[in-house]
């Protein structure tokens, strides 16, 4: 399974749109694309996870690295449109309390 990563940047904001699976095979690609965005000073990083139906704990590892990195560069990161299965992973691990998740428009198709 693959992971498609689309990034649009501009006006102090980086928007990343993901589709596919985030696992041990695709997590390194995500890390490679996401971490540079989190190192930009005062950046707003938004990651749209609507197209992600499966993520394992290696994916969480990438978001934890990204969180530590935005904190160092005075930037902000938020994850939007999480599918239930993916949201559950953030909730179990307690990461929902330290990573900003916007679940208002969560995809409900699983």
């Amino acid at each position: 399974m693959n992971l498609n990563i689309d990034v649009t940047e501009g006006n102090g904001k980086s928007a990343m749109k993901l589709a596919g699976e985030i696992d041990a095979y695709t997590a390194p690609q995500l890390k490679e694309k996401l971490l540079p965005l989190t190192k930009i000073e005062n950046n707003q990083v938004e990651v749209d996870l609507e197209g992600v139906h499966y993520m394992d704990s290696t994916g969480l590892g990438v978001f934890i690295s990204a969180l530590k990195s935005v904190n160092e560069s005075d930037s902000k990161m938020r994850l939007i449109n999480l599918q239930n299965r993916v949201l559950r992973l953030f909730q179990i691990t307690g990461l929902d309390e330290i990573i900003t998740l916007d679940t208002a428009i969560r995809g409900g198709n699983d």
Binding site: K31, T58, G94
Partner: protein, 339 residues
């Protein structure tokens, strides 16, 4: 060297025979010789050389252009010979690495070994299977001087060797904590600091720590972002999720853990697991946790060890079943008083 010499004369004879009659038998002979060359690590340019020599013996009147072309081919094959040599040494290195990893895996097993405590009132069963050679799952039992039993189940995120090394660190940290601090929330808080300081940013550990106090038939527990376990009520024959929230180890140095407790009644069970259990797949479909619980329920009359063994076998036997991750399943069963 003797065998090589006989191969050379064999080669010439076979080639001669083939040029004369072009039969299948000589081709089969060629296949055998080529296998022998590979076994003896004969480089490709050496074979071309052999071919030229054989041809010169068989056809001294070979045209010049043909002889030149064969020398040209020989030159071409030299780089292939070097590549072949590299491939050969890489294979040797690979097999050395494999045996080193096997040794490390054996050492991990020794380092992390834990003995399942035998106590009257609590029947414990556990099965732990790693997806790779070295496991990132971990469980550990500790018997306190006050007869309490400490039970840890953990999963290192990140797989393979780094995860396995990390587990050893956790085990030795736990061993070094003074017994007076052995309550679940303090253990997790202390471990969190150890992990936060010592592992890199993308790595973290989830752990569920439970402590069973026989005199009160009570368990205390706390979770650091671990896959929730289940409580089985023998009276209603139903499972309920054990709710315990807490941040995974290694992310924030300030994390605090909430401790919960409950009394376990006779016949009741606590089921603990790692996410390898819920991330198993059959074909394209994930195994739902309900299926795992149904299987456990089916075997709930058996001793705890048989229950987990049967549950594991149940999934292993399924068609197209695959483990994506290390798999650990543990059952703690409160036995009837006086048994």
């Amino acid at each position: 060297m003797e065998t090589l010499k006989s191969d050379i004369s064999n080669y010439r004879n076979l080639l001669k025979h083939y040029i004369e009659v072009r039969d299948e038998q000589s081709l089969y002979g060629a296949e055998q010789i080529s296998k022998m060359f590979i076994k003896n690590n004969v480089p490709p340019e050496e074979i071309i050389n052999l071919h030229i020599q054989a041809l010169e013996e068989l056809h001294p009147d070979m045209p010049d252009y043909f002889r030149h072309s064969m020398n040209f081919l020989l030159e071409i094959m030299i780089s292939y010979g070097i590549a072949h040599q590299e491939h050969h040494s890489l294979r040797e290195e690979q097999s050395e690495l494999k045996s080193e990893i096997a040794m490390a895996a054996g050492m991990q097993e020794t380092l992390l070994a834990t003995t399942k405590p035998e106590i009257d009132c609590l029947d414990i069963g556990v099965v732990s299977v790693s997806a790779n050679q070295m496991s990132g799952d971990y469980y550990h039992f500790l018997k306190g001087r006050d007869d309490s039993i400490g039970i840890a189940i953990a999963d290192v995120i990140g797989k393979g060797i780094p995860a396995a090394l990390c587990m050893s660190m956790i085990k030795y940290s736990m061993d070094s904590f003074p017994e007076a601090t052995m309550n679940p929330k303090t253990i997790l808080k202390n471990l969190n600091r150890v992990v936060e300081r010592n592992v890199d940013a993308g790595m973290f550990i989830t752990m569920f720590y439970a402590q069973y106090i026989p005199s009160e038939s009570k368990i205390r527990y706390a979770s650091a972002g671990h896959e929730p376990g289940f409580y089985y009520n023998a009276q209603t024959q139903k499972f309920e999720e054990i709710k315990a929230k807490g941040l995974v180890l290694g992310v924030s140095p300030e994390a605090d853990y909430r401790q919960y407790e409950r009394v376990i009644h006779s016949g009741d069970m606590v089921v603990l697991l790692t996410d390898g259990v819920t991330e198993c797949k059959q074909g394209d479909r994930f195994i739902e946790i309900e299926e795992v619980l149904d299987v456990l329920n089916q075997y709930s009359d058996l001793p705890a060890q048989e229950m987990v063994d049967k549950a594991y076998k149940h999934f292993e036997r399924m068609q197209n079943f695959q483990f994506r991750d290390d798999f650990t399943l543990m059952v703690l069963k409160k036995e009837a008083d006086g048994q």
